[in-house]
């Protein structure tokens, strides 16, 4: 199975060909937004960190920024810095250049003499990159180049019963075709971690999965928070999910049944192919941010209560099995799987339907959030700002 994508020098394949306008810190975000708004084919992110951070937070924000730049859906990067942030634009640029040979240029607002002068230079640079990007032809790429991120958010009881098993079926089909899938949200393994760990390809992976859950609970307890007090969320409870265990046992079904071949730290790039899991927050925006930084080309997102979320770099395909949610939020949700609950659609048929949808998205079909230009981002933090 092949799709038409953009082959990158590092061997990966993009399903989009964006010019990314990347701020180094919050202070570069508005300038980056204005630059992106001037150039067809450019996308930007709003970054809320990059300054006044402890080392662990800086390490996470750098993983996100470099991961976004290296994502195969990105053709080239224009970095907008300020000048006094923790990692200045030239340093970030050189770091990205050491990881990828795509074109990267950078500007600093303090060096250039303000936002307008920076915008002038950056728009010109972005225009040149967009012109180069427009010349790159799509090529047939093997489906094994697809790394699909699997996410859920705004879950209700329909998620675990129907849409998550359907996405699990999709994941199994993709892995059997040679592609890879990435499931995250480790806090939402708690209570189902013993079931998830049964899929581990090795005893080491089994124990990594258990340990991630134990460590997550300890981390929150150190901050005075019982994970069972925050999970399920009020919306989850309203939607019929009573405990974290019930939520997790439904959540993990979206990962399918194939052996888990690798466990990643947050925002890390996989080294293996197949079913992969990553330690991230259950906060969906943060989890998607980390999966995009890890190199996912597309995200499939199940929801029960509905969400508009999208990502600047990677198309987010949203599905629900809640008929009321689909009809009420049809402008935000791509695929209706309510037939599973009504008994008119099997899980196997749903997997086939989603495979077709993902195949179309790989070939360029815009998801609804993508067409609206949505670009949610949340960088996980371990500590207060300093």
């Amino acid at each position: 199975m092949n799709f038409w994508g953009y082959k990158r020098a590092d061997g990966r394949a993009g399903i989009r060909n964006h010019v990314l306008i990347l701020p180094t810190c919050a202070c570069g975000s508005e300038t980056a937004r204005i630059v992106a708004s001037q150039i067809r084919g450019a996308v930007n992110i709003i970054f809320n960190t990059g300054c006044s951070d402890v080392a662990a937070n800086t390490a996470m924000s750098q993983k996100i920024l470099t991961g976004f730049a290296c994502n195969p859906n990105v053709f080239g990067v224009v970095i907008i810095g300020l000048g006094c942030e923790t990692v200045p634009h030239a340093k970030l640029r050189e770091k990205i250049k050491s990881m990828t040979n795509k074109p990267v240029v950078s500007f600093g607002i303090q060096e250039e003499g303000g936002t307008l002068k920076t915008i002038e230079k950056a728009v010109r640079a972005a225009r040149n990159l967009a012109a180069s990007a427009s010349l790159q032809q799509k090529e047939l790429c093997d489906i094994s180049e697809l790394l699909l991120g699997i996410e859920c958010g705004g879950s209700d009881a329909t998620s675990g019963i129907a849409s998550n098993p359907a996405v699990g079926e999709l994941s199994d089909k993709l892995i059997d075709l040679g592609a890879s899938t990435l499931m995250s949200e480790s806090i939402e393994w708690i209570g189902g971690e013993h079931v998830l760990a049964k899929r581990a390809a090795t005893p080491e992976i089994h124990n990594q999965i258990i340990k991630i859950c134990a460590d997550y609970e300890k981390h929150l307890l150190a901050a005075g928070q019982d994970c069972r007090a925050g999970q399920p969320t009020p919306g989850n409870k309203f939607g019929g999910l009573s405990t974290i265990d019930e939520k997790s046992l439904g959540c993990i079904r979206k990962g399918g049944t194939r052996p888990i071949v690798e466990v990643l730290k947050q925002a890390e790039r996989p080294t293996k192919r197949g079913a992969i899991v990553m330690d991230t927050a259950g906060y969906d925006i943060s989890s998607v941010t980390s999966m995009v930084a890890a190199g996912c080309n597309a995200i499939i997102f199940t929801t029960g209560r509905g969400t508009p979320t999208g990502n600047a770099i990677v198309p987010v395909l949203k599905v629900t099995a809640n008929a009321q949610t689909f009809s009420w939020l049809e402008d935000n949700i791509d695929v209706d799987l309510s037939g599973i609950i009504e008994g008119t659609l099997t899980i196997t048929e749903s997997g086939d339907l989603l495979l077709k949808e993902i195949y179309d998205v790989c070939n360029g079909k815009l998801t609804k959030a993508e067409a609206y230009g949505f670009s949610d981002i949340a960088v996980d933090h371990v500590c207060r700002f300093v």
Binding site: I190, G192, H206, T243
Partner: protein
């Protein structure tokens, strides 16, 4: 008729696919019928048998929590009457 989905034969709850009113008969997809003893919102769980305080709640064939009060057969099972039991991670390691 109101329906509820039973996911595993070990389960003592089923998930209602529409709102149920007290006195309704709920058809359990997966076997049998049950009389609903209180109003239950859509997507919430109905108890398939009497559940006493301290008893485990099963869904997906797995434990999702423990009853904090006695729950009648046909009653509403929610975050108000069940709670999550802490994990024993050390014993799960292999």
């Amino acid at each position: 008729m109101t329906k509820a989905i039973l996911l595993d034969e070990k389960d003592n709850v089923a998930t209602c696919t529409s709102a149920a009113k007290k006195g309704d008969t709920i058809k359990i997809l997966g076997g049998g019928e049950i009389s609903c003893v209180e109003d239950i919102p859509i997507w919430h769980k109905v108890a398939l048998c009497p559940i006493v305080k301290g008893e485990k709640i099963f869904k997906y064939g797995e434990i999702i929590g423990e009853a904090s009060v006695d729950i009648a057969k046909g009653g509403w099972v929610s975050h108000e009457n069940i709670f999550s039991v802490p994990r024993d991670y050390d014993n799960e390691l292999i």
